[in-house]
């Protein structure tokens, strides 16, 4: 049934799996921020951030429908499969983006609203339209878009951007390259066919694996910043050390694996682990913060 999009197709345009991570990290930013926020306004804020992320995802799918049709991972998305037209996706994405920014600005403050607008612009324009097809550094710079949600959550409560929220940003920013390059290592034929210059297609596997390891070390070090700067306690520090060490071990194993089949398998393991890593580290940071603030367990 051409042109008869189901409700599920519109939901798929929002990239719900990516949205989970956005929502979770935004919630952490919102919860750990000093100050208070009305619980209903907090829920509305998270909803706005989620819808903003969904809107930018729809704009991404609108622009990338040509390359999505080529890659096996994305060929069944609503636009390349013909269930939703490009125009519908564009209007859907624009409406969601505008309403989410306006509502967040009205509900909380215009620093948070402005940051959400910038995040959407960064993902849809800077990453999707400009960087993605031009440079192998696409996901390094574009990764900033995925790193903004905790800053937006923090700003929704405080109306400012401060060091703590920037550290949360930095952790996600440095997490993005190993995460996406691991995916690119075992899906590189897909990216190559679509002409997307992902790192393995441009500089080769060996260099990509070295860069993954370097970013993983930087990530593990950045995850120690909350402890070094004095806004995380022992509970978080223990989790950050263990999970960061495990991440480096995965990256090291990948670096030492030369056989193509084994390398793809190790890259997939690293990709899966990286998803758990971010959830665990952010959950630990939030729990540690709540323990310190409300149960008196100081670091």
């Amino acid at each position: 049934m051409m042109g008869e999009a189901r409700v599920e197709d519109y939901l798929a345009l929002l990239k719900p799996s990516v949205m989970q991570l956005v929502v979770f990290t935004a919630v952490v930013g919102l919860v750990v921020a000093p100050g208070t926020i009305n619980p209903i306004i907090a829920v509305i804020s998270v909803l706005c951030i989620a819808i903003g992320a969904g809107g930018s995802a729809a704009l991404n799918m609108w622009f990338d429908s040509d390359i999505d049709a080529i890659m096996s991972r994305t060929a069944n998305r609503p636009i390349p499969s013909g269930r939703v037209s490009r125009e519908e996706a564009l209007v859907f994405g624009m409406v969601l983006s505008l309403f989410s920014v306006a509502l967040l600005g009205l509900a909380t403050n215009w620093v948070a609203g402005g940051l959400l607008a910038f995040t959407i612009f960064f993902y849809a324009v800077i990453y999707t339209m400009w960087l993605k097809r031009r440079t192998p550094q696409n996901i390094v710079i574009g990764g900033a878009a995925g790193a903004f949600p905790p800053i937006v959550g923090w700003a929704a409560v405080t109306g400012t951007v401060s060091l703590e929220s920037v550290v949360l940003f930095l952790i996600i920013f440095l997490w993005t390259p190993p995460h996406f390059w691991a995916l690119a290592l075992y899906k590189q034929s897909d990216y190559g066919a679509a002409g997307v210059p992902m790192m393995p297609n441009v500089v080769g596997n060996a260099s990509t694996k070295r860069q993954i390891f370097t970013y993983t070390v930087l990530l593990a070090l950045s995850a120690m910043l909350p402890t070094v700067l004095g806004f995380a306690g022992l509970a978080y520090t223990s989790v950050a050390v263990i999970t960061g060490g495990a991440f480096m071990l995965y990256a090291w194993r990948l670096l030492r694996t030369d056989d193509d089949v084994a390398m793809r398998k190790t890259a997939r393991s690293l990709f899966n682990y990286s998803l758990s890593y971010l959830f665990i580290v952010f959950f630990a940071f939030m729990t540690d913060n709540l323990l310190t603030r409300f149960a008196g367990f100081g670091g």
Partner: protein, 60 residues
């Protein structure tokens, strides 16, 4: 004698396809109605929270 072009190319939809299409449209309309209702409720709640008791503090 052949039929005019605009008549000749009309495709008649099978009843089951038409029914499926109508079902999809109905579900989409319900989802849109729910989204609009939630949006209105959000603004209502936001107004009450933001303005609080001051909302009712006016001359009658």
């Amino acid at each position: 004698m052949s039929a005019p072009d605009e008549i000749r190319h009309v495709e008649i939809e099978a009843p089951e396809v038409a029914a499926a299409r109508a079902k999809v449209r109905r579900r989409r309309s319900i989802a849109l109605a729910i989204a609009l209702a939630l949006f209105a409720m959000t603004f209502y709640a936001l107004t009450i929270i933001k303005m609080g008791p001051a909302l009712f503090d006016r001359a009658l």
